[in-house]
């Protein structure tokens, strides 16, 4: 009688992602949604107990530290082998003995989306978001694992492990950027509207925004900065006291099927973690979505946003900078 409790990003609870699971378990899934995996963590920390959740890779360490997770037995994951090794081999994912903390499912790129008509021949660099020419007409993503990471890259600091002095440098970089920005936001609806209207000329976005605006005929380009795009990956974690472990495995298996990944690519323009899904999507379509046919190659050139050792301090620092400190 118990249904699987699934805690995920809004929009990732769609039934099309797990058709086979639903066929086997007509009761379906009970999904709760979040809009930000920091908020999700807060809610879980306060005692919310789903069976599986869908945070991103960089948060796994924090969830784990809090003792919220149980390792996943990869033997029970049927398509484990079709997952690209880049994802499987991510550090911090291992729990030993073939157990892992998270099963990667979706990934995407973060970069600057800019208006080609309003920004003429920019240098392919994250520095565009620091360009005083465009003061007041740029926006960036309000998340620790995006903007501060870029600032660290530009400041020549390792984003994922830094000394306090280095963090000061990052803060300096961020402070430099604040007056130039129209907004810090995660609200892509507003960002896309603003890019379309010309209010913004450049903004940090996910690749799906690029596809969407191009489809509407807005002259935009998704930059390939020389410092590297950011890549994020998210996946499924199993909560320690999960009541429906069997259902959870069924669910993850269903999500790793080719159909599911293909639907993810086609509907949202984000990457799937399985090679079988990529194989099922025609090459032209992938091109249009600015996705490579072989992510393994591409992901070597991007910066993978993994767990940051000083995440909480960085977050505080970023908040303060945003507030004007």
């Amino acid at each position: 009688a118990d249904k699987l409790q699934y805690f995920t990003w809004s929009g990732y609870e769609l039934p099309d992602f797990n058709k086979s699971f639903l066929a086997a378990h007509p009761d379906g899934v009970e999904a709760s949604i979040f809009g930000d995996d920091d908020d999700a963590f807060t809610k879980v920390k306060a005692g919310f107990r789903p069976d599986i959740a869908h945070p991103c890779y960089d948060k796994v360490a924090r969830w784990n530290k809090e003792g919220l997770l149980q390792p996943i037995d990869t033997k029970r994951i049927k398509n484990w082998d079709s997952i690209f090794p880049v994802f499987k081999n991510l550090p911090d994912l291992q729990a030993g003995d073939g157990k892992v903390w998270m099963v990667p499912w979706d990934w995407g790129n973060t970069s600057i989306l800019y208006r080609t008509d309003l920004v003429k021949n920019p240098e392919a660099s994250w520095n565009l978001l620091w360009d005083k020419q465009y003061a007041g007409r740029m926006a960036t993503i309000d998340a620790v694992h995006d903007t501060p990471v870029v600032a660290a890259l530009l400041a020549g600091v390792n984003p994922f492990d830094m000394t306090p002095e280095q963090m000061d440098k990052v803060a300096e970089k961020l402070r430099e950027q604040r007056p130039l920005l129209s907004n810090y936001t995660t609200d892509m609806t507003s960002v896309e509207q603003a890019l379309a209207s010309g209010q913004l000329v450049a903004a940090m976005t996910w690749n799906a925004s690029a596809t969407s605006l191009k489809k509407q005929g807005v002259p935009v380009e998704f930059m390939k900065p020389k410092e590297g795009m950011l890549t994020w990956a998210c996946g499924f974690v199993m909560l320690k006291d999960a009541k429906n472990v069997d259902l959870a495995y069924d669910f993850i298996n269903s999500r790793l099927e080719t159909d599911s990944g293909k639907y993810l690519i086609q509907a949202y323009g984000y990457g799937s973690s399985t090679s079988s899904a990529f194989a099922a999507v025609p090459k032209e379509e992938l091109d249009k979505l600015q996705l490579p046919s072989d992510p393994e190659v591409m992901l070597k050139t991007t910066v993978f946003t993994g767990p940051m050792k000083q995440n909480d301090d960085l977050a505080k620092m970023f908040e303060k900078v945003k507030a004007g400190g």
Binding site: Q5, S10, G11, E30, A31, S32, I33, F34, G35, D39, T42, K43, A46, G47, F48, R49, T186, D187, M188, T189, E192, Q193, A196, S197, S209, S212, Q216
Partner: protein, 277 residues
Amino acid sequence: MSAARSEANAGGSWLGLYVLAYLVFLYLPILLIPLFSFNDSIQAAFPLQGFTLQWYATLYGNPALSSALANSLVIAAIAASGATLCGITVSYMDLYGRSPLAATISAIARLPILIPGVIVGISLLILVNLVGFGPSRLAIVLGHILVALPTTVVVMRSRFAAIPKTIREAALDLGASDWTTFRRVMLPLSLPAVLSAFMLAFLTSFDEFIVVFFLAGTEPTLPLYIWSQLRFPRSLPTVMALGTAILVVSFVIAGLAEILRHRGLGASRRTAAVNPA
């Protein structure tokens, strides 16, 4: 026409213009929502692209939406009933209970207006987890009772205070017990306030989403649904269509409430007329 009145009208016409401008300010943004809900573009910007009903079509028969809507209505109805019940009893006992406990409860009940929503959400989440039922509709209901309580207490308190104290004493004097007095005299007399307290609490719950985020289990409420949809640029026009539908429904509900309130005003005016203070 009286001199006072003709003078009033001279100043009144300027004021009238101002009020008109103010109404434009109030309604201009609101009326954009229906406008763009018929616009054939996912960009909410001028110039308009063409008339379409497709967003309403997407709206229609969207199970996630209708369940969120149903959820919101049920939660709002229950939370509003709970908050109104508490508002009635708390303010009644504050005014007539003559005990320090009742006065304390009434004072505390008006505090939540000071507590930031995040904190209400988190602490109630901790509480419901301790108690054992976890995030759920029940948890949201509790959260919304807490959020709406100050309003219902203030509304009910001022209404009870406006009933002449001799009315209650007359009932007691005629042999009605405390309970009968409350049920047959005080409650019917404050019915208009009960209704407006209920309406206000209902709307507070229907519009709230910060507390909901923490307390929602697997069934989102409508504001949570709207908020999650607003993250997807493609959903924007559909959300506008949804907003328009809500607008129309609230218009109808507000109209009904207004009619009730008018009756209520009439009733309280009658009370005042019958019992000169």
